[in-house]
């Protein structure tokens, strides 16, 4: 480093090893730290500041209203439905995603010829463009689309998937699960392969069957991976937007209007930036609480940690 050369001779050098190291450390983290301050922390403060204002971009009004937006939040007739939709979506997605990922990982952990081909194919939707994937499913799920066509061939009359309240939500969840389950599957597979084989041998000697081995050895040993993937999957499920926008636009009614979609509508379609900011704060609180709860739960459910 050029700083070294400026050290005056004889005197105890200012740039000691430790100081040079510290300077390098700050330089190395500077882009990331400044980025977080500029694009995360300042916007977070701003979003709170905005949430205290009545702000309509079209009408060009910006007035301090205190907690009025938060009172509006409590009185918002649509919000319970939005939160319910978000909850159904997130719970459905996480449960389906985690159990399918675990099932696939266990199946792919078997000694079989050509198993990597299966692994590749199950993973492939992860690399398909999200909107492209969603458009294809939207096409398949049309009333006269591919899925109902196939069902009709075996004499079943399929529902209008994206226009029926129940099936619309199921469709949105399932499309998202098939898109991304490969990621969790791979992480589970790596975790399964990291479980020491001796444990299974010892259990077999003790007469434990496959199911018992799975419950008593496999699950506890991979519990750190389960916890981490579940946090990521839950937080990810709260961010879903493109799928809703392409498949249902939040409908029918408001049955698939999740919080991020509602936030987008309020802020960028109806131009209520103040109320949109209040919804952003709500989203932030939900994400923070969920992460905190799961982090606390790790002591109870995670069997060991490296």
């Amino acid at each position: 480093m050029s700083l070294m050369t400026e050290t005056p001779p004889r005197k105890r050098p200012f740039w000691t090893m430790a100081r040079r190291d510290a300077a390098a450390g700050y330089l190395f983290i500077a882009p990331q730290l400044i980025g977080i301050i500029a694009f995360v922390l300042i916007p977070l403060c701003l979003v709170f500041y905005y949430s205290l204002h009545e702000w309509n971009v079209l009408a060009n009004t910006f007035n301090f209203v205190g907690a009025a937006n938060y009172q509006m939040l409590l009185a918002d007739r649509a919000l319970p439905q939005v939160l319910l939709s978000s909850a159904i979506f997130s719970v459905g997605l996480v449960v389906l995603n985690m159990s399918l990922a675990l099932l696939l990982a266990v199946l792919l952990d078997q000694k079989l010829k050509g198993i990597t081909v299966f692994r590749t194919l199950f993973f492939s939707p992860v690399v398909v463009s999200l909107v492209a994937w969603t458009i294809v499913w939207s096409f398949l799920l049309q009333n006269n689309g591919g899925i109902n066509g196939m069902l009709a061939m075996i004499g079943v009359e399929g529902p209008n998937w994206l226009r029926n309240p129940t099936t619309a939500m199921i469709s949105v969840i399932v499309v998202q699960v098939f898109k991304n389950v490969g990621l969790n599957m791979i992480l589970f597979l790596a975790a399964l392969q990291g479980v020491p084989k001796e444990l299974y041998e010892a259990a077999r000697v003790d007469g434990a069957g496959h199911f018992k081995q799975f419950r008593r050895i496999t699950l506890p040993m991979i519990s750190p991976t389960i916890l981490l993937t579940s946090i990521i999957t839950i937080v990810g499920s709260l961010q879903v937007f493109a799928q809703i926008a392409v498949l249902t636009q939040g409908g029918p009614g408001m049955t698939t209007t999740v919080l991020v979609y509602y936030l987008y509508q309020q802020a960028f379609q109806f131009h209520f930036f103040g109320y949109g900011s209040t919804l952003s704060i709500l989203l932030f609180v939900i994400v923070a609480v969920l992460t905190f709860v799961q982090w606390q739960m790790r002591k109870r459910i995670v069997f060991y940690e490296n």
Binding site: F39, Y50, I186
Partner: protein, 280 residues
């Protein structure tokens, strides 16, 4: 639980895997074949797994209806810059947090980790205002700056830090004895060893940028500036109805190149993600 399976169990397992595979591969097949069907055949009953007539003009129409080549370029160059930029930012920050001792490093790491807690959807309104103030609305700057320096890069920094923490210290000590400075140690010793982690970061980041949808529709307004995900949803007729075969042709062109790269490099892809992904 790897045990040698009996032949009967083996067949059952193959059968089960094939059935489970249908929703994962059929959509891609359906997209490919439907994109070359004439519009009259697209909702034909019974459904054709192989087109009975071919109509390749859909692919030409994609380029007639929208500046699709330009939009393709937009998505590609943004994803490339974001991927490269994130690799630089996250490897440097990850290295410093893992290997360099400096005052307040833990506090600063906690601040950076806040980015994981605050998804960019939360800050989309103020970000829009900030970029509006800087005259960057309807430019690609927000789609580059926020992912490289903001919340989306934090996950990458976390992955890099986990990797560098696990790296044995002897190599660095030897280099220090030889009088190498921090930057040279990072560049010549640590970074070359971090290729698998960097690979995983590159894949995650590329896919994230390539899939971005909320940010482009908030920040971009002219078709010339659109990215692919945004462009794909624009193939509609005057009544807002989807022009399915053209839309599917555009979707095919968006999806297939990445899919091909993935299939060629799938071993590195999957193993990179599995081994550096989330071990900590």
């Amino acid at each position: 639980m790897k045990t040698d399976l009996s032949p009967r169990l083996r067949v059952a397992l193959y059968g089960l895997l094939c059935v489970l595979l249908i929703p994962f591969v059929f959509p891609t097949w359906w997209m490919l074949t439907s994109s070359v069907k004439p519009i009259s055949d697209i909702f034909a009953f019974p459904p054709d797994l192989w087109p009975r007539r071919f109509d390749f003009s859909t692919y030409a129409k994609v380029f007639e209806l929208q500046p699709f080549a330009r939009q393709y370029w937009n998505s590609a160059y943004i994803a490339a810059i974001v991927t490269l930029g994130t690799m630089v930012v996250s490897s440097m920050a990850g290295y410093a947090f893992a290997r360099i001792k400096f005052p307040f490093s833990n506090t600063m790491f906690m601040i950076v980790l806040l980015g994981l807690l605050i998804p960019s959807e939360v800050t989309i309104v103020p970000l829009f205002q900030m970029f509006l103030g800087w005259g960057m609305i309807n430019t690609h700057w927000p789609l580059i700056l926020v992912p490289v320096f903001g919340a989306p890069s934090v996950f990458a920094t976390f992955v890099m830090r986990q990797f560098f923490i696990a790296l044995p210290g002897e190599l660095e000590e030897a280099a220090r004895v030889d009088g190498l400075g921090r930057f040279k140690i990072f560049w010549l010793i640590a970074l070359p060893l971090a290729k698998p982690a960097l690979g995983a970061v590159a894949i995650f980041t590329f896919l994230h940028s390539w899939n971005l949808y909320l940010e482009p529709i908030v920040f971009l307004s002219s078709t010339q500036m659109f990215t692919l995900p945004q462009a794909l949803t624009q193939f509609t007729d005057a009544y807002g109805g989807a022009m399915w075969n053209i839309q599917l042709a555009a979707a095919t062109m968006t999806a297939i190149p990445v899919l091909v790269v993935f299939i060629i490099a799938q071993k590195q892809f999957v193993e990179g993600l599995a081994h550096t992904g989330l071990k900590g």
